[in-house]
């Protein structure tokens, strides 16, 4: 592995302009991904503190575009609408958000059946994230993968371990309200075998606290599967991302509120500050975007 990321603005020393074929310096590196998450309730972006106390942060289509322009590698729209009337707006929200978005776009929260997934893909999503529905009906993972490909299926796992070890982390469903008795590590492995393309792991212990990702849990899940793991829950400052990409072995990290609001730990352009800090720490990043 090369020790330094190849910076786009630097000429590649192994490259000879008199050859048509690219030289094979082997210097390319897969970047770790920063994913901006939009929690959406009835068509509006909100963000909860530990799944409660929501506050409004704007229009999903405009926010998604703004995040992509700022350098987000991927956008996740998570529908947290509780009422069936509100849920009817999801497909239209997805369509509006996808229209002018040219980075990968995932939708979660409203997908319970293969038909739900098909409507979401038709509206312009690249991936769906399934959580409670996958626990209730694990065959759904394979059904969506068979029709749309494994790359289009993210299994989201909400896990809580309290003071216990990572191996003890338990899977919760229904927005974190219902314990399932399933162990997070075993469920991640099962989801991979059933056809999931990625795991989105949310630490319920850390979500909304700003105290940092649960690196031990993330590393345990990443070590249990061979598909990419997206870490979520607890992002509060740039160092937390450095930790989750190194000690936590995450392939991607997801956060919501720190990209929506100016916080004491980030200034006017949180994405740029975050990516520069990560590059300085030796984490490969897509930057400049």
């Amino acid at each position: 592995m090369p020790s330094e990321p190849l910076h786009p603005s630097k000429p590649n020393p192994g490259f000879h302009s008199d050859r048509r074929k690219p030289s094979l310096s082997g210097a390319t590196r897969l970047a770790k991904r920063i994913i901006a998450c939009l929690d959406v309730d009835a068509g509006r972006v909100v963000k909860g503190i530990q799944f409660q106390q929501l506050r409004d942060a704007g229009d999903p289509a405009a926010l998604a575009r703004a995040h992509a322009a700022a350098g987000a590698d991927e956008i996740v729209l998570l529908d947290i609408t509780a009422t069936s009337d509100g849920r009817k707006t999801l497909v239209e929200t997805v369509r509006r958000t996808a229209r002018e978005l040219f980075v990968p776009f995932t939708v979660g929260g409203g997908v319970r059946t293969l038909e739900d997934a098909a409507r979401i893909f038709d509206a312009g999503a690249d991936k769906v994230s399934i959580n409670s529905a996958a626990v209730a009906n694990p065959a759904l993972i394979g059904e969506i993968a068979a029709r749309f490909g494994s790359q289009a299926v993210i299994v989201a796992i909400d896990a809580r371990r309290g003071a216990g070890p990572a191996e003890a982390a338990e899977v919760y469903v229904s927005g974190g309200r219902t314990a399932t008795g399933k162990k997070a590590l075993a469920w991640a492995r099962e989801a991979e075998q059933l056809g999931a393309g990625e795991i989105l792991l949310t630490s319920m212990d850390r979500d909304g606290t700003g105290a940092g990702f649960d690196c031990a849990l993330t590393a345990a899940v990443a070590g249990s599967v061979s598909i990419p793991v997206i870490a979520s829950g607890g992002a509060g400052n740039a160092q937390h991302f450095v930790e989750v990409f190194s000690a936590g072995q995450a392939d991607a990290a997801l956060a919501a509120s720190i990209f929506h609001f100016s916080t004491p730990n980030f200034g006017a352009n949180p994405m740029a500050e975050l990516k520069q800090t990560l590059l300085q720490a030796g984490i490969p990043m897509r930057w400049p975007c």
């Binding site: 590649n12 050859r19 790359q151």
Partner: protein, 195 residues
């Protein structure tokens, strides 16, 4: 008019949206007559190589005839892999064999699928990648990849070098998703539209 060939592969609406954004007229079709009459062809794709069975059934000859007559062709992801002889992902499904070699799975030494933004090393003189910086990041999601061949216009290293882009005369292919690769990807599509 650019014909986006519909054979049940997943990313058709994303490709169409990107072309609309660039102001290019595009039509999604599986009609051999429309394919034959198109000024340019895009075969998108994502997912399993066995999807190419559908492509091979009724659309193979009009697509290959159009290529032979000089129609600019762009294959994306599985659509690029189809330009090779085939893939070990679906050995019973032949590719177009316009480029030598077979697509194969990533080695066990790296995580598969290869998901995310990786860099491309670009050869000189590529028309498709003109204006894209050497070392630019593009978005990938795939478990199989095409070998580096004489026509490789760009490569990426992930468990060894593979073809990120191929280019010969009017035939182009990209393993990455230009429709999901932000400015770098839109530049690739813009270059194709301008051919």
């Amino acid at each position: 008019m650019i014909a986006i060939v519909d054979y049940g592969a997943g990313n058709i609406s994303s490709v169409r949206k990107a072309l609309e954004h660039l102001g290019a007229a595009a039509q999604v079709t599986s009609d051999p007559a429309v394919i034959a009459a198109a000024q340019k062809l895009i075969v998108p794709g994502v997912g399993h190589f066995n999807r190419c069975q559908v492509l091979n059934q009724s659309m193979r000859s009009p697509v290959l005839e159009a290529i032979k007559s000089g129609t600019p062709f762009l294959g994306i992801c599985v659509g690029m892999q189809w330009l090779f002889a085939g893939s070990t992902e679906a050995p019973e499904t032949p590719g177009a064999a316009l480029f030598a070699g077979e697509c194969s799975r990533f080695p066990a030494s790296v995580k598969s699928p290869h998901v995310g933004w990786n860099q491309i090393e670009i050869g000189s003189g590529s028309r498709l990648l003109k204006g894209v910086s050497n070392g630019a990041f593009v978005y990938y999601t795939h478990s199989y990849r095409a070998p580096v061949v004489a026509e490789t216009a760009a490569c990426t290293n992930y468990g060894g070098a593979f073809s990120a882009a191929v280019e010969r005369d009017n035939v182009f292919g990209v393993q990455f998703h230009p429709e999901k690769s932000a400015e770098a990807g839109l530049k690739v599509l813009e270059n194709f539209c301008a051919l």
